[in-house]
Subunit: 328 residues, 2 copies
């Protein structure tokens, strides 16, 4: 491996000068800068990031921690999260360690901390957290690391939370639906009990129901396509519209209605592309997952620089689309 001193020798200067050129520091004459760059090019010198990290102030690495246990049909969301996070981290010149819940859930909190520390991790972004991930929740209490949590109302001195206003989004999408389809009674399919977002969405639904004087049938379908389908099949009461706390459930509900050969408007939540395959017409909440992830990593940068944890609320959109439209 060719190193900084080879370059120095070749350029006829001192190693520190090379270092300065490489790092674009001031106090180097254009002349020597040229010489050095020439030597670098000729030798094909590449600075060793590991050595750079060891010496000088180590920026430290960040961990991207993802939940890999949700329904696989929404992996699209995770991929977008990941892409956004990695992209932003690269832009910020932060080294990333990608982890899945399944890789650490079974380990003790101490083991995890030790691992993270040995990896030089200073901060992390956590996606897809739910209330029953006790190990991860434990990790959040740690003060050793800076953390950013997505869609979970947990923030303190060293932790920020980034999320879209679930309650308002649910409210908005239903309001939009009602413009096109009046309804006196709505069947609401809620998500998993242990989910943080479920509460907000339900609250939003209740709010608009109350304001508009709509009766509400709340059923739990665990974010599952299958359970949503069954819930619709088994519903004995009358209703004019189905509102679902996720697109996947909306798809299940829609399928059941189709099989029952009745039409009722259905709306979802998330904006996954799968929705484009679901039915003739869809209304849903569209979240920009890539942007959420980028924001989260950016905020982690702030935390790492010493800022205090806070809550960041991101906007959402309401979209209506025809069959096989691409959501974008």
């Amino acid at each position: 491996m060719i190193g900084i001193k080879d370059v120095a020798k070749r350029a006829g200067v001192a190693v520190s000068t090379v270092s300065k050129v490489v790092n674009d520091y001031p106090n180097v004459s254009e002349a020597t800068k040229k010489k050095v760059n020439k030597a670098i090019r000729e030798l094909g010198f590449v600075p060793n990031a590991v050595a750079q990290a060891l010496s000088s102030k180590q920026p430290g690495r960040i961990a991207i921690i993802m939940n890999d246990t949700i329904q696989s049909a929404v992996d699209e969301v995770d991929m977008q999260y990941l892409a956004g996070a990695l992209y932003k981290a690269r832009e910020m010149n932060l080294d990333v360690v990608t982890l899945f819940f399944s890789m650490i859930r079974d380990k003790s909190i101490d083991e995890i901390i030790t691992y993270l520390r040995s990896q030089n991790v200073r901060g992390m972004v956590i996606f897809g957290l739910s209330k029953d991930e006790s190990t991860i929740l434990e990790l959040l209490k740690t003060t050793t690391f800076k953390k950013v949590v997505i869609d979970a109302p947990l923030h303190n001195e060293s932790t920020s939370s980034v999320w879209v206003d679930q309650s308002k989004a649910q409210y908005d999408v239903v309001e939009e639906m009602l413009k096109h389809n009046p309804a006196e009674k709505i069947l609401y399919l809620a998500g998993k009990e242990n989910s943080f977002v479920m509460e907000g969405r339900l609250a939003g639904m209740k709010k608009i129901a109350k304001e508009k004087g709509i009766k509400l049938l709340v059923r739990n379908a665990d974010f599952s396509e299958k359970k949503a389908r069954e819930a619709v099949f088994n519903e004995t009461e009358e209703y004019h519209m189905v509102v679902c706390a996720s697109d996947l459930m909306a798809i299940g509900a829609m399928r059941a209605l189709t099989e029952l050969d009745v039409f009722k408007p259905v709306c979802g939540f998330d904006g996954i592309s799968l929705m484009g395959y679901a039915g003739k017409q869809m209304t849903t909440v569209k979240q920009d997952f890539t942007k959420i992830a980028e924001t989260a990593v950016g905020e982690l940068g702030n935390l790492l620089e010493g800022k205090k944890g806070r809550e960041i609320v991101l906007p959402h959109k309401i979209v209506r689309m025809e069959y096989l439209d691409v959501i974008s």
Copy 2:
């Protein structure tokens, strides 16, 4: 940060002794080993991976490079690849850099190499490669790195390829179908032209068609649900069965048949869980993506140890399932 010398002082030994204990080297008495471990525990010492890497023991890092430009509905596949790869890398104690095509495609080959080298990357695994990713293909020619490619017939001294026998898999799934549903004429929906797997699958289809004396209508649907649906709608010739080169296309084909209100058996390829939502009954090829990824990382380890590149063929399964069954 507490380091090895703090431990040494506390335990009343030399730093090298601590190092030996930490790395589980021989020639250390049980007594001192105990002392040292005690000190480590008391001080909460964590070896600094960066420093470890800098000093001799440089295993180097590996890059996991994923294509993030395919249809989003098959992100499930990528997540499984990623999970498998990260898991195995962790087990092998290899540091990982996760990258997406979109992060490097626009860069010059030199920039990429420089980046990779500065990150201390020694090898990489590439998922989702297609013929038109010229930059990545260029990277493959490099001899600086060891590489493992998934589902692409490219291997040489420093490159291994890992894949399932696409041709045989296509053959097998059709053979299975024919057991249940005889057919004299089959509509085959092929995938993208630039795809490596497309060729193998088509070859398998042609082979069985020839052997069984079946007439074949080959249409291109670009791995797209929408195009598959259209292809079925627009097909004017008669046929008894639809064979698709991907599950997504199978879903599209199935939907078209449903809308046309005719029944014809359909089969897919991949085994994504989305297929469970597609129709009453499905037959498809199931690939174990997690295992493929694990194998690939393992093979990269071999390459890194000096072994020559080779081709590794992994098995597949044929599955039949009812509506909403979970593929596993």
